[in-house]
Every structure is written in structure tokens, then in C-alpha cells.
């Protein structure tokens, strides 16, 4: 579904991601785990086009994204939930979701989104900036889903979220995948979350994939050792 070949990203002279290869299959949830500064955000942002890519190819369901701008990649089927959520603070909850709808030419927030996130319906007229962290995370996911993505990218969705809500987010991701039949690529540092949510786990270090396992047979201690500081 999402295919990344010889991906190369650099900020000026410093190369962050070099020759990264990664495939996300249809209906699959792939987690990329790694410590701070290992290049997770750089990878995600470069995939959605917020950070320029120096080389390689990214294609989505057969469409070449390499030369597309950010908004065109989103319209081609890439949904993005950034680190820190980046809700539009003075827009209401409903308006935040509606910004995503514009990409697919819809006007009204579909009921199924509110069904998935009932709290957003309750708060639809509040300003996005006044929501709690967990609620903002739901809003960011709903906003991304409004663009009707084929692949959903999430960058550290558990950052700054209370532990009891982290489990809920993992469930939500699986539910989204099951109900909508899309693929998910999520970056993380929290191992328990990854074990709950992902089908396949990749470890990223200094911008390269250094380890890969299916969740079912995953060696938790080994992955944890990569995450230990």
C-alpha cells in the first residue's frame, strides 16, 4: 500500500535518514520505534511532505508521491497526525474536523466519525485549544480520518497522554483499521502501546531500520533494549 524506497532526508549538510526501505501492506499496522532524536518525526514529516526529501521514492497505492506537495499527498490518500497534535487552537472542534473534509470535497462531518469519538460531538462548539491532551489526540485523529486516507501516519500519539488513555488509543487504532480497512504507520517510544496496537514492529536508530519483528513472535526484551537510554 505504502512503499518507501531508498528514502533520503537531510537538514542542510546533516543527513538524518539514509537509504531507508519500508513497505506497509494493506490493512497492516506498522510501528516504528526508537528513542528521541532517532529520526521518527523526520521520517513522518518527509512522508507527508512537510520536510523536503533528498532522494528515493515514495508511492501510495501505485501513485508516485515523490514530487507532490504536502496537500497533494494528503489528497492522494495520506492522513497525518503529527507529534504534538497541532490542533488549530482557535477553530472549534467541528471546524477542525471540517478542515480535513475540504480535501475530499465534503461539507458535513460524517456521523461515523462522531460515533468513533463521541466526546468530540459533545464538544463540537468548543475551541480546539481548550481541549485536554487526550481529547486533542482524538480530534487530531478525527481530522486526519476526515481526509479519507488510505494510509494513516501517526507520530508519537501517546506523547504527553495519561497512561490509562494510552490503552484506549491503541484500541482506537485497531478499530479504525478494522472498520475502515486502511493501513497505519505509527511511530512510538512506548513499548506496551506498540505491543497492543501493531502487527509489525520496526526499530529505527540514527535514521535506519536496524531490527524488525512481527508482533506475534516479538522479543520484547530485545526491543526494550533498543529503547533504553
Amino acid at each position: 500500500m505504502l512503499s518507501i524506497k531508498h528514502h533520503l532526508v537531510a537538514y542542510g549538510q546533516s543527513t538524518i535518514i539514509q537509504d531507508l526501505n519500508l513497505d506497509v501492506k494493506k490493512n497492516e499496522i506498522v510501528a516504528v520505534v526508537g528513542r528521541n532524536g532517532m529520526g521518527k518525526t523526520t521520517l513522518m514529516k518527509s512522508l507527508v511532505g512537510m520536510t523536503p526529501t533528498k532522494g528515493g521514492e515514495v508511492s501510495l497505492d501505485g501513485t508516485d508521491l515523490t514530487r507532490l506537495k504536502s496537500f497533494q499527498r494528503v489528497r492522494a490518500g495520506l492522513g497525518f497526525v503529527p507529534q504534538g497534535r497541532m490542533i488549530f487552537p482557535t477553530l472549534t472542534v467541528r471546524e477542525n474536523i471540517e478542515t480535513g473534509l475540504a480535501a475530499v470535497g465534503e461539507k458535513k462531518v460524517p456521523e461515523d466519525l462522531y460515533e468513533m469519538f463521541p466526546v468530540l460531538k459533545e464538544m463540537q462548539n468548543r475551541r480546539g485549544g481548550n481541549l485536554s491532551g487526550g481529547q486533542q489526540q482524538q480530534l487530531a485523529i478525527a481530522r486526519a480520518l476526515a481526509t479519507r486516507p488510505k494510509v494513516l501516519l501517526l507520530d508519537e500519539p501517546t506523547e504527553g497522554i495519561q497512561p490509562n488513555i494510552i490503552k484506549e488509543i491503541a484500541q482506537t487504532l485497531r478499530r479504525i483499521r478494522d472498520e475502515r480497512g486502511l493501513s497505519i504507520l505509527v511511530s512510538e517510544q512506548v513499548l506496551s502501546f506498540v505491543m497492543d496496537a501493531a502487527d509489525r514492529i520496526l526499530v529505527i536508530e540514527k535514521g535506519a531500520i536496524v531490527h524488525e519483528e512481527n508482533r506475534a513472535e516479538a522479543d520484547q526484551e530485545k526491543i526494550a533494549s533498543y529503547l533504553a537510554v
Partner: protein, 308 residues
């Protein structure tokens, strides 16, 4: 400065000057709206905004001339046509300027200042070549002349009232556009977080062009209104650009209501004080008060209060 006036005289003077200031208020509101929309969306200060206004004024002048020569029977309605034309022509030129020039300079605020200033000089020279250096004026249709007499001493000029209604209608229209339409939602998203707006599928470059065109179009309407209070010359826009900056900064660049209140305050203060003092003294006093208030409220009169 009020020595030698009775209190009823003073009241009448304030009222008269206040009403006389209505047209100025309208021009300020329209100019400030356009400037603030463009600045708010893309952080570009359009130094040629006054020249866009003058383009609208020349458009109005040409339209009135056309009606006088070819459609004298419909002369009473020329102003409406002129307004629409002024909006469309200025918006089209604005879109062109954005595409040719501004979009290449977004990350260089100082360069946009210089570039739009250069544009203002080019536009002034173009007006001089096309329309000549002499100022031109329009004839008012009959129904706009005269005044409504409120009391013995106080007259309400009809054209001032009419232009004010137009200015406020445009302000309401802009409000609805920004807060009730899909376009406005995209504008607000881009203003708050441009990369994220792109990340939800909004074409921010397209929004920029539309917004620049809209701001310039509104300057065109300001130009149509301007023909009611002054005659139009190649560099008449210059006198207004500074006052308009003042209005925008004083009102708070993000606040529509703030802009209107500030336009009202500044136009009224100038108009009223000009009766008692010289024009430049009135300007100095206005400026002092504005600076004083900005020292207390640096974000402008009415900054929106939200967590960011």
C-alpha cells in the same frame, strides 16, 4: 481649545464634524480591512495598498464618465456598477501581482516591503501616464447630494451616510466570509499553522492568492468610496496608507471589530480636532493617544483571547 463656545454649540460642532468624518471612517474601514486580511494571512504588508485604492477610484471616475456620455438616464446608479468593477479589477490585478511577485518573497518580509513599495511607484507612474498628473473628480448623482437636517445646526450628508452603509456591509460580508464560509475556515487554519493546514489537504498557496486578491478588491471598493470625499490624483493613495497602518495596528491585526472601532476612533478624532486645531496638530494628538494606548495594550485594542 474649547474656549469661547457654549456647550450647545460644542455639541453641534462635535455632531457636525462627526458626521463629516463618516466618509473618512468608511474609507479607513475598507482600507484597513483589506490591509489586515492580507497581513493576517501571509504576514505581507502591502505598501501598494493605497495605489490599489486609487485604481478603484480611477475605475469609478471612468465609469461615471461612461454613464454621463452613454447612459445619462441611468447615471443615478453608476456608483453601484463602479463599485463592482473596482472590486473586480483590483482583485484581478492583486491576483496577478501575487502570482508574479509576492509568492516568491513570502519568507522575506523586508523584501516584500521593498517590492510592494516599488510596485506602488510603478502604479503611480502608470496613473500619471494614463490619466495625467491633474487630479480628477466625479460628479455625484443627484440623490446622493444634499443632507438630512437633524437639528438647526446639524446636517447629515447623504453621501457620507451611504458610503458608511457600504463600508459596514462589506465589513459584515468579510466577517461572514471569514467565520461562516469554507474559504474562511481554510484561511484561519493557514493563519494558525500553515504546514499543518497543508497536512490536512489545504492548498495554502491557492488560499494566499485568493486572499491577496480579496484584500486588493476591497481596496478597490475603498477607492470608489474615496471619490466621495476627495479628488483622485496619481499619488492620492500615499496620504492614506500611513493612516491605514495606524488603524490596523491600533485595532489589533487579527480583530475585525477592533479594526472598525479603531477606524471610527481615529477618523472621528481627526475630524473633530481639525475643527479646533490645525490638521497636523490633530494628527500629532491622535498619534500620541494611539501610542499611549498601544503601550498599555501592545496587541492592539481588541486582541482575541485564547490559549495558543
Amino acid at each position: 481649545m474649547f474656549d469661547g463656545y457654549t456647550s450647545t454649540e460644542l455639541m453641534s460642532i462635535f455632531a457636525m464634524q462627526g458626521f463629516a468624518g463618516l466618509s473618512l471612517f468608511s474609507v479607513f474601514v475598507l482600507m484597513a480591512l483589506g490591509l489586515a486580511i492580507i497581513f493576517g494571512q501571509m504576514g505581507v504588508i502591502n505598501m501598494a495598498h493605497g495605489e490599489f485604492m486609487i485604481l478603484g477610484a480611477y475605475t469609478t471616475y471612468l465609469t461615471s464618465g461612461f454613464f454621463q456620455s452613454y447612459l445619462p438616464g441611468l447615471f443615478g446608479g453608476y456608483f453601484f456598477i463602479a463599485m463592482v468593477l473596482a472590486f473586480l479589477i483590483c482583485a484581478a490585478l492583486g491576483a496577478l501581482v501575487e502570482w508574479l511577485m509576492i509568492r516568491h518573497l513570502y519568507h522575506r518580509p523586508l523584501d516584500t516591503l521593498l517590492a510592494t513599495w516599488g510596485l506602488s511607484l510603478i502604479m503611480q507612474q502608470a496613473y500619471r501616464s494614463i490619466f495625467g498628473a491633474r487630479e480628477v473628480g466625479v460628479d455625484l448623482p443627484e440623490w446622493m447630494m444634499g443632507a438630512i437636517q437633524v437639528t438647526d445646526m446639524v446636517d447629515l450628508p447623504i453621501n457620507g451616510l451611504f458610503v458608511m452603509i457600504i463600508a459596514l456591509s462589506v465589513a459584515v460580508g468579510v466577517y461572514l466570509l471569514m467565520y461562516r464560509s469554507g474559504y474562511g475556515k481554510k484561511v484561519r487554519a493557514v493563519v494558525q499553522n500553515r504546514p499543518m493546514a497543508e497536512g490536512v489537504g489545504i492548498n495554502s498557496a491557492g488560499i494566499d492568492r485568493a486572499t491577496f486578491a480579496l484584500g486588493c478588491g476591497i481596496a478597490g471598493i475603498a477607492g470608489a468610496a474615496f471619490t466621495m470625499i476627495g479628488s483622485t490624483g496619481p499619488s492620492s493613495g500615499q496620504a492614506y496608507i500611513v493612516d491605514t497602518f495606524l488603524v490596523v495596528v491600533f485595532g489589533g491585526a487579527q480583530s475585525l471589530i477592533g479594526t472598525i472601532v479603531s477606524a471610527f476612533g481615529i477618523s472621528q478624532a481627526q475630524s473633530t480636532m481639525e475643527f479646533f486645531l490645525s490638521g497636523s496638530m490633530a494628527k500629532v494628538l491622535t498619534l500620541l493617544v494611539v501610542i499611549g494606548i498601544l503601550m498599555i495594550r501592545p496587541e492592539g485594542l481588541m486582541a482575541l483571547k485564547v490559549r495558543r
